[in-house]
Amino acid sequence: MAEENDWDIAEIADSMLDDAAWSAWVSAHPEGVSEAVLARRVHVLLARLQEAQITLPPDFQTRLFQRLQADVTLLDVVDLGFAGFGRVLIELLNAFLSVLPAAEQQPAL
């Protein structure tokens, strides 16, 4: 089957064509009929699973918010850690600079 016809078949497999439209398509693409029929059968088979009820685990949201809370708390700790580190660094610099001999005052001219 030529690649340029693939997209046509995908849509044809999705929809039930009326007799006239199907006949027109078959005469235009006789080589694609078997693929279209197979694709349609797969589409119909899988569409049955649309009815499946998929149940969210009951504690899903509780666990999600616990994780988010832990993330936020960790970020806060890191954030505070950086802020604390910055403060300590500034205090050390201040202390270091304070013990350096003061620069001699240049006499005013």
């Binding site: 997209w7 029929v37 059968r41 797969v42 699973l49 649309q50 998929i54 685990p57 949201q61």
Partner: protein
């Protein structure tokens, strides 16, 4: 439960996070069932679906302040979900290629409970046949490539539009249609080979499905 348009949800989350989580709770309530269902259908088991759905909302939480198109919230969330599933499926595929060089013929990666709840109280024989059919579907899905599985799940099971799938996977429309068609053919070929009896059983039931 209050229901808001995506733009409004995004606006409220951007204004209130991280101090007030109520808007984000509303967002989670709005999308959690759909995100989990998509992840479950793509991954085929509850553990992976749960991990992925949790990760989706964590990414949404951390990314929502930067979202540039609030109206595209829904497609953004589905895009994250699809991409996380594709990554996880690719990792799973690599693991299985390392450990087993042959095709899966069972549904060991799946819970096998993708099947609809039977509301018509079939006979035990009918129920067994249906169980076998859905086991075959799950096993066949697990043998497709990640992208084949993704497009076929999104189109045929989730009934998403071609446009939506193309946007989610950042591919062109005609490329997506081609992928979907090829994925259906691949599914059909594997299903016929691995479950010929179940395939024949669908023939009579789905005979009206011939596109005509």
């Amino acid at each position: 439960m209050e229901s808001l348009q995506p733009e409004e949800l995004v606006r409220r989350c951007q204004q209130t996070l991280p101090h007030d989580p109520r808007a984000f709770e509303l967002l989670v309530n709005t999308y959690q069932a759909r995100v989990y269902a998509t992840a479950y259908r793509m991954m085929g088991n509850t553990d992976d679906a749960d991990d992925i759905a949790q990760e989706v909302f964590i990414r949404v939480y951390h990314g929502i302040k930067k979202i540039s198109e609030p109206a595209a919230l829904t497609s953004w969330i589905y895009q994250i979900t699809t991409n996380l599933c594709l990554d996880a499926l690719a990792k799973r595929k690599r693991r299985s290629q390392r450990s087993v060089s042959t095709l899966h013929t069972d549904d060991s990666d799946t819970d096998g409970d993708l099947m609809p709840i039977d509301r018509q109280s079939p006979t035990p024989e009918e129920a067994a046949l249906r169980r076998e059919l859905y086991r075959c579907i799950a096993a066949t899905l697990s043998n497709l490539s990640p992208i084949e599985r993704a497009v076929i799940v999104l189109r045929d099971i989730e009934n998403r539009s071609y446009q939506e799938i193309a946007e989610g996977l950042t591919m062109g429309l005609s490329a997506i249609k081609m992928r979907i068609h090829r994925a259906r053919l691949a599914f059909g070929e594997i299903f016929v080979r691995t479950c010929p009896g179940a395939w024949r059983a669908t023939e009579t039931r789905d005979s009206s499905a011939t596109p005509r």
